[in-house]
C-alpha cells in the first residue's frame, strides 16, 4: 500500500497534484492527506496526477499521501435512498450531522446509505431460475409509496443455485447465489459518470403532468424528455422547480440542489413530509430523494452532484418507474466546471467556460429518455434543469448550449416576476418541442380539441403582444373594439389562466380535465363576445359584465372536482350573450 501512494506536490483550492501516480487510473477515487479527504483523479501526465478534491483542502501539506481506493467515483444503490438527503457524493447529510454536528467538517470519509439497517425482502425467484441482467429477484417495501425492486446488476447472469427465504436481512447478506459465481446482495454499486444500460430507447409518448396550467397546456414536458427553466434571480426558478417536484405525476423525484441556498433545502426537508400526494394520500417525501450541495459547500462536489443524482434516477428507472430529475441549478454546475478548469490552467473558451462545456451538457441531458429497461419494462427519466444566466441574459454560453440539447424551454421573465405574475414563464419566448408527439395522447386522454384550443389561445396572446406595441404609442382607446376584445381576452388568459397561485389549496395543482374546461370557458366567451362586438355591443359593456370577473376567479372558486360548476358557468355565458346580442340586434 505504502509504495503505491502518490505524494502531493501542488495545492490550489480543490485542485491537488501529486507525483508517483503512474499506477492510478483516470477517474479513480482517492483519499488525500492525513484527514483522508475524498478526491477523484482527473488527469494523469506520466508520473504526475491531478486530483479534484471533494472537501475543503485547508491543511493539506506537500508530500501528503494520495491513496487509491481502486474504484471509480460510485454510488451505492439499494433500499434507504428514498426520502433521504445526500451531499454531492452520496453521503447522507444526517450521518454527516451525527459525525460533525451543525457544521460540515472535512475528513468525514466515505459514507453511504445505512448498511446495518434491516429490510424485509420478498423473493421472486427460486433455485433453478435463470436470471439475466436487470431481472428482479426480490422486492423491499422501501417507503409506503415505493416498492424497491432488487435487480441483478448489469453484465451479470446465471442460474440460481441458492436463495434465502423471505425475511429481514442486512444489506451485506448474500441473498442469491448464481452458478456463474455471482453473489447478489441488496445493493449494487455503479460509477456515476457512466449511464446505466437499457434494452432500447423508445419514442416519447406521454406527457409529464405537472398540474401547472402554463406547462401542461401551453408548453408540455414529456416523460423521458428534457426541459430547461432559465431565469435571472428572483424570477422564480426554484419556486417552479419545487412546484414540479411536488405535483408532477412521476413515481420518483430526484431533486438536486446544486450550488443553491441552504435554507431552500431545509424548506424542502420541512415541507415535503407535510405535503400530501393527491393520488396516494401519503406524504410526498416518500417518493423524493434530495441531493444537496449548497453554494458554500465544496465546489468539486458540486460538479459530482449532478452525476450522483442522475445515476440514482437511472437506477429507479431500471425498476420500471417514471423518474423526474430536477437540477437546480445547472449553471452552478457549469461554473464549478469553469472554476476547476481555471485552476487547471486549461485554455478557456467563451466567458471562461471550458471548451468541453457543450459536450458535458449534452452527455447529461442525453441520460434522459423513455426506454425499455433490461427487464422489459417501460420507464423513463425526465430531466428538468434550471439555468441561472448571468445578468438574466439568455445569450450567455450555458443557456445557449442548454437550448441545443433540451426540447422544452420555459423562459422566465423578469418583467412578469416584477409584477408578481407567477409562474413567470414568458409565453412568447418559451417553446415545447413535444406538442406534435403528444397531440395523440391529449386527444385520447383529455379532449379532441385540447391542442386546437391551445393554438387558438396562443394566437390571442401573440396578437396581444403586437397590439400592445401600438397601445404603447397611442393608447388603448383608439383601437377598434375587435382588437380591444383581444386585449381583454388576453387579460383573462393571463390573470385567470396563466397565473397560478402556488399557495392556494385548489390552484397549486390543477388536473388536466379542469385545465381543459377552463380553456373551453375562455374560448366560448371569446367566440360569443366576438359575435357580440360584430353586432355593435361596445367592449365596455362586455368588460364590465359580472361574468368577466367570474371567469377570472374560476380558478379559485371552482374546485378541482368541479362537478357541474363549469356547465353552469358555460350556460350563464351562453344566456348572457344571447340576450345581449338580441338586445343590440333589436336596435
Amino acid at each position: 500500500m505504502e509504495g503505491s501512494a502518490g505524494r502531493v506536490v501542488y495545492v490550489n483550492g480543490p485542485v491537488v497534484k501529486a507525483k508517483n501516480m503512474k499506477n492510478f487510473k483516470m477517474r479513480e477515487m482517492v483519499t488525500v492527506g492525513e484527514k483522508k479527504l475524498i478526491g477523484e483523479v482527473i488527469s494523469i501526465d506520466e508520473d504526475l496526477g491531478t486530483v479534484q478534491v471533494y472537501e475543503e483542502t485547508t491543511g493539506i501539506k506537500i508530500d501528503d499521501e494520495v491513496v487509491s481506493t481502486k474504484k471509480p467515483l460510485s454510488v451505492t444503490l439499494g433500499p434507504g435512498i428514498v426520502g433521504n438527503i445526500f451531499d454531492g457524493i452520496q453521503r447522507p447529510l444526517n450521518i454527516i450531522f451525527d459525525k460533525s454536528g451543525n457544521f460540515i467538517k472535512e475528513g468525514i470519509g466515505l459514507a453511504t446509505i445505512d448498511k446495518t439497517r434491516k429490510w424485509y425482502v420478498e423473493f421472486k425467484v427460486k433455485v433453478g431460475d435463470v436470471l439475466k441482467e436487470g431481472d428482479i429477484f426480490g422486492t423491499v417495501d422501501e417507503t409506503p409509496l415505493v416498492k424497491h425492486h432488487l435487480m441483478v446488476p448489469p453484465y451479470i447472469q446465471g442460474k440460481v443455485v441458492e436463495v434465502k427465504q423471505d425475511g429481514e436481512y442486512e444489506m451485506e447478506t448474500v441473498l442469491v447465489k448464481l452458478d456463474s459465481g455471482a453473489e447478489l446482495k441488496m445493493y449494487q454499486e455503479w460509477p456515476v459518470r457512466i449511464p446505466r444500460p437499457v434494452k432500447e430507447r423508445l419514442p416519447i409518448q406521454k406527457p409529464l403532468i405537472t398540474g401547472q396550467r402554463v406547462i401542461d397546456t401551453f408548453f408540455p414536458i414529456a416523460k423521458g424528455g428534457t426541459a430547461a427553466i432559465p431565469g435571472g434571480f428572483g424570477t422564480g426558478k426554484t419556486m417552479t422547480q419545487h412546484q414540479l417536484a411536488k405535483w408532477s405525476d412521476a413515481d420518483i423525484i430526484v431533486y438536486i440542489g446544486c450550488g443553491e441556498r441552504g435554507n431552500e433545502m431545509t424548506e424542502v426537508l420541512e415541507d415535503f413530509p407535510k405535503l400530501i400526494d393527491p393520488t396516494s394520500n401519503l406524504p410526498l417525501m416518500n417518493r423524493t430523494i434530495l441531493i444537496a450541495n449548497t453554494s458554500n459547500m465544496p465546489v468539486a462536489a458540486r460538479e459530482a452532484s449532478i452525476y450522483t443524482g442522475i445515476t440514482i434516477a437511472e437506477y429507479f428507472r431500471d425498476m420500471g418507474y417514471n423518474v423526474a430529475v430536477m437540477a437546480d441549478s445547472t449553471s452552478r454546475w457549469a461554473e464549478a466546471l469553469r472554476e476547476i478548469s481555471g485552476r487547471l490552467e486549461e485554455m478557456p473558451a467563451e466567458e471562461g467556460y471550458p471548451a468541453y462545456l457543450p459536450s458535458r451538457l449534452a452527455e447529461f441531458y442525453e441520460r434522459a429518455g423513455y426506454v425499455k429497461t433490461l427487464n422489459g419494462k417501460e420507464a423513463s427519466v425526465t430531466i428538468i434543469g434550471a439555468v441561472s444566466p448571468a445578468g438574466g441574459d439568455f445569450s450567455e454560453p450555458v443557456t445557449q448550449n442548454t437550448k441545443r440539447f433540451v426540447s422544452a424551454f420555459l423562459g422566465l421573465d423578469r418583467k412578469l416576476a416584477y409584477s408578481r405574475h407567477y409562474p413567470a414563464i414568458n409565453w412568447l419566448s418559451s417553446y415545447s418541442g413535444y406538442i406534435t408527439q403528444l397531440e395523440e395522447w391529449y386527444k385520447q386522454n383529455v379532449a379532441d380539441d385540447m391542442i386546437f384550443l391551445r393554438g387558438e389561445m396562443m394566437k390571442v396572446l401573440q396578437e396581444e403582444s403586437k397590439l400592445l406595441e401600438t397601445v404603447k404609442l397611442v393608447g388603448e382607446d383608439v383601437l377598434p373594439d375587435q382588437q380591444r376584445l383581444i386585449l381583454e381576452i388576453a387579460r383573462l388568459l393571463k390573470v385567470g389562466y396563466l397565473q397560478q397561485n402556488a399557495y392556494h389549496k385548489e390552484d397549486t395543482f390543477v388536473p388536466l380535465d379542469k385545465q381543459y374546461m377552463m380553456l373551453k370557458v375562455v374560448d366560448n366567451f371569446y367566440r360569443l363576445a366576438r359575435e357580440a362586438v360584430k353586432v355593435g355591443v361596445p367592449i365596455s359593456v362586455i368588460k364590465s359584465s359580472e361574468l368577466f370577473y367570474r371567469i377570472i376567479k374560476m380558478k379559485y372558486e371552482i374546485p378541482n372536482d368541479y362537478k357541474n360548476s363549469f356547465d353552469l358557468l358555460m350556460s350563464d355565458i351562453n344566456e348572457y350573450f344571447s340576450n345581449l346580442i338580441r338586445e343590440y340586434e333589436g336596435d
Binding site: 506536490v9 501542488y10 495545492v11 490550489n12 475543503e56 483542502t57 485547508t58 491543511g59 493539506i60 501539506k61 506537500i62 438527503i85 447529510l93 444526517n94 454527516i96 460533525s100 454536528g101 451543525n102 457544521f103 460540515i104 435571472g232 434571480f233 428572483g234 450550488g259 441556498r261 441552504g262 435554507n263 433545502m265 431545509t266 424548506e267 426537508l269 420541512e270 444537496a292 449548497t294 453554494s295 458554500n296 452552478r332 461554473e335 472554476e339 478548469s341 481555471g342 478557456p348 466567458e351 471562461g352 448571468a390 445578468g391 438574466g392 416584477y418 409584477s419 408578481r420 405574475h421 397601445v471 404603447k472 404609442l473 397611442v474 393608447g475 382607446d477 399557495y503 364590465s544 370577473y549
Partner: protein, 455 residues
C-alpha cells in the same frame, strides 16, 4: 516544526513567494517579521517547495532578505467571548479601540464551515423594521440574508441605520446584538454608523470590524469572515439574535479581483475571478439558524451597484445567493422620496412563510401581491402618458396614476424617525388601494375586499 525562513524568492503586489519550505499546509497562517514589525499572511498555493503567501498588510518595505517568515501551522483564528460586545477591531480581528486584547473565551477559525442543511432551522419569524415598504412588501425574516442594492450617493446607510434603530429583533426573546463589518468604506460613513449606534443606545451591543478605504486591501478579504465568526459565536454559543451589517460588498469584490489578478488567475466576467460566486456564498450562507441553538444570524449586506447596473456581476451573483434584495432607485430619490426603494425588483424570498395569518395579518399576502401588480401597471401607464399626454388617458388609467402618486408619497415615503408598525402600514396600503375600483383588485381574496376596501 515552526522553522523560520529568512529569505524570499519573489515579492509581487500583495504576494510573496518563499522557496525551500517543508511541512507547510494549504491555507495556514504565516507571521512575517519586517524590521521589528509583524505582518500576517496566508498560504494560498503550494507547489513543490514553493509557497505563495498572500500578505494582509501591505508589502512595502519588504525585501527578499530583510525578513523572517514563520509558519504557524494554523489557519486564522480569533479569540471570542462575550466581552467582544461594544468593542472595535481591525480587519483581521485585532482590537483597535485601546481596550486591550480579548482574554479567556474560545478561539474559532474565521473561515467557518458550511452549515449542514439538515441542521438548519427554516426561518419563519418576521422582524418588524418599521419601514412600510420593507415590512409590507419585502418582509425581513429572522435568519435571512437580505442585501440592499444601492448606488453611490443613495441613502443606504440611513436605511440600514433606521433598521438597526427600529428593528424589534429582541423583544422578549433573548439578547440582541449587531455585528458591523466595514469593508473599504469612507471614514465619514464609519462615523455615521458609530453615531447612529450611539444615538440608538446600542453601542455596547455592537461589535465592529473596521477595514476602511485606506486600510490594506488584502485585509478586506478577511474582514467579513472575522465579523461572521464573531456573529456565529454570539448566535450559536451565546444564543443571541444577531444582525450583521456588511458594507460595502463591492469593495470586498474589488479586493478579491485585485488579488486574483496578482495571482494571474484566469478571469471570469469583468475580470472578477471565476470563483466569485463560491466566495460570496461562503459569506452569505453563514446567515441562518441551527438546531440546538436559540440564536440567529440575519444579514443585511450593502452593496453599491457600479453604474447603478443590477446586471453587473456583483449584484447579479449576490442576488442568486441571497434570499431576495432591496433595490434603491436614484430616480425615486431624486423625487425627494425617502426611503427610495424601488419595490418592483425588490423581493424577499422568505416572506411567504413568515407573513399572513398567525404571523402578521391575514390579508398581508394578498395586499402585497396587489400592490406589486398595481404599481407595475402604474409604470406602464406612466410610459403611455409620456407619449400621448395625461389628458388622453382613459379614466381607469388616470386612477392608476393617482394610485401611483399616493403609493409613492403616502406609503413609500416616511421620515427617518418614523416607526410604523405592520398594522399601520397595511392600513395605509388599503387607503391607497381603495383609490382603484374594486374590480381592478384581482389579486385580493373577495373576503378581504369586503372587510377592508374603503367605500
Amino acid at each position: 516544526m515552526h522553522k523560520e525562513y529568512m529569505s524570499l524568492k519573489k515579492i509581487e503586489g500583495p504576494l510573496i513567494v518563499i522557496e525551500g519550505v517543508e511541512g507547510v499546509s494549504y491555507n495556514e497562517m504565516v507571521e512575517i517579521k519586517v524590521q521589528g514589525e509583524t505582518k500576517h499572511g496566508k498560504v494560498v498555493q503550494l507547489n513543490n517547495d514553493l509557497a505563495i503567501v498572500q500578505v494582509f498588510e501591505n508589502t512595502s518595505g519588504m525585501s527578499v532578505n530583510n525578513i523572517s517568515v514563520k509558519f504557524t501551522g494554523k489557519s486564522l483564528e480569533i479569540k471570542l467571548s462575550r466581552e467582544i460586545l461594544g468593542r472595535m477591531f481591525n480587519g483581521i480581528g485585532q482590537p483597535i479601540d485601546g481596550g486591550g486584547p480579548i482574554f479567556s473565551g474560545i478561539k474559532l477559525d474565521v473561515n467557518g464551515s458550511p452549515i449542514n442543511p439538515v441542521a438548519r432551522r427554516y426561518p419563519r419569524n418576521y422582524i418588524q423594521t418599521g419601514i412600510s415598504a420593507i415590512d409590507t412588501l419585502t418582509t425581513l425574516i429572522r435568519g435571512q440574508k437580505l442585501p440592499i442594492f444601492s448606488g453611490n450617493g443613495l441613502p443606504h446607510n440611513q436605511i440600514a441605520a433606521q433598521i438597526v434603530k427600529q428593528a424589534k429583533v429582541a423583544e422578549g426573546e433573548g439578547d440582541f446584538a449587531v455585528v458591523f463589518a466595514a469593508m473599504g468604506i469612507k471614514h465619514d460613513d464609519a462615523h455615521y454608523f458609530i453615531k447612529t449606534f450611539q444615538e440608538a443606545g446600542v453601542l455596547d451591543k455592537v461589535v465592529m470590524f473596521m477595514n476602511l478605504a485606506d486600510d490594506p486591501v488584502v485585509e478586506r478579504i478577511v474582514t467579513p469572515r472575522c465579523a461572521l465568526t464573531a456573529a456565529e459565536y454570539l448566535a450559536f454559543y451565546e444564543n443571541m439574535h444577531i444582525l450583521v451589517i456588511m458594507t460595502d460588498i463591492t469593495s470586498y469584490c474589488e479586493a478579491l479581483r485585485e488579488i486574483s489578478a496578482a495571482r494571474e488567475e484566469v478571469p471570469g466576467r469583468k475580470g472578477y475571478p471565476g470563483y466569485l460566486y463560491s466566495d460570496l456564498a461562503s459569506l452569505y450562507e453563514r446567515a441562518g439558524m441551527v438546531e440546538g441553538s436559540k440564536g440567529s444570524i440575519t444579514q443585511i449586506p450593502i452593496l453599491t451597484m457600479p453604474n447603478d447596473d443590477i446586471t453587473h456581476p456583483i449584484p447579479d451573483l449576490t442576488g442568486y445567493i441571497t434570499e431576495g434584495q432591496i433595490v434603491l432607485s436614484r430616480e425615486i430619490y431624486q423625487r425627494n422620496i425617502y426611503p427610495p426603494i424601488n419595490i418592483l425588483p425588490s423581493l424577499s424570498r422568505l416572506m411567504k412563510d413568515g407573513i399572513g395569518e398567525g404571523y402578521t395579518r391575514e390579508d398581508h399576502p394578498d395586499v402585497a401581491n396587489q400592490l406589486f401588480s398595481s404599481y407595475s401597471r402604474v409604470q406602464e401607464v406612466k410610459a403611455l402618458s409620456q407619449v400621448i399626454g395625461e389628458d388622453e388617458l382613459s379614466e381607469i388609467d388616470k386612477k392608476y396614476l393617482e394610485f401611483g402618486e399616493a403609493f409613492e408619497y403616502r406609503f413609500l415615503r416616511q421620515e427617518f424617525n418614523e416607526n410604523r408598525d405592520i398594522n399601520r402600514s397595511l392600513e395605509i396600503a388599503w387607503d391607497i388601494l381603495s383609490i382603484l375600483p374594486k374590480n381592478e383588485l384581482d389579486r385580493i381574496n373577495p373576503k378581504f375586499l369586503d372587510a377592508f376596501y374603503r367605500g
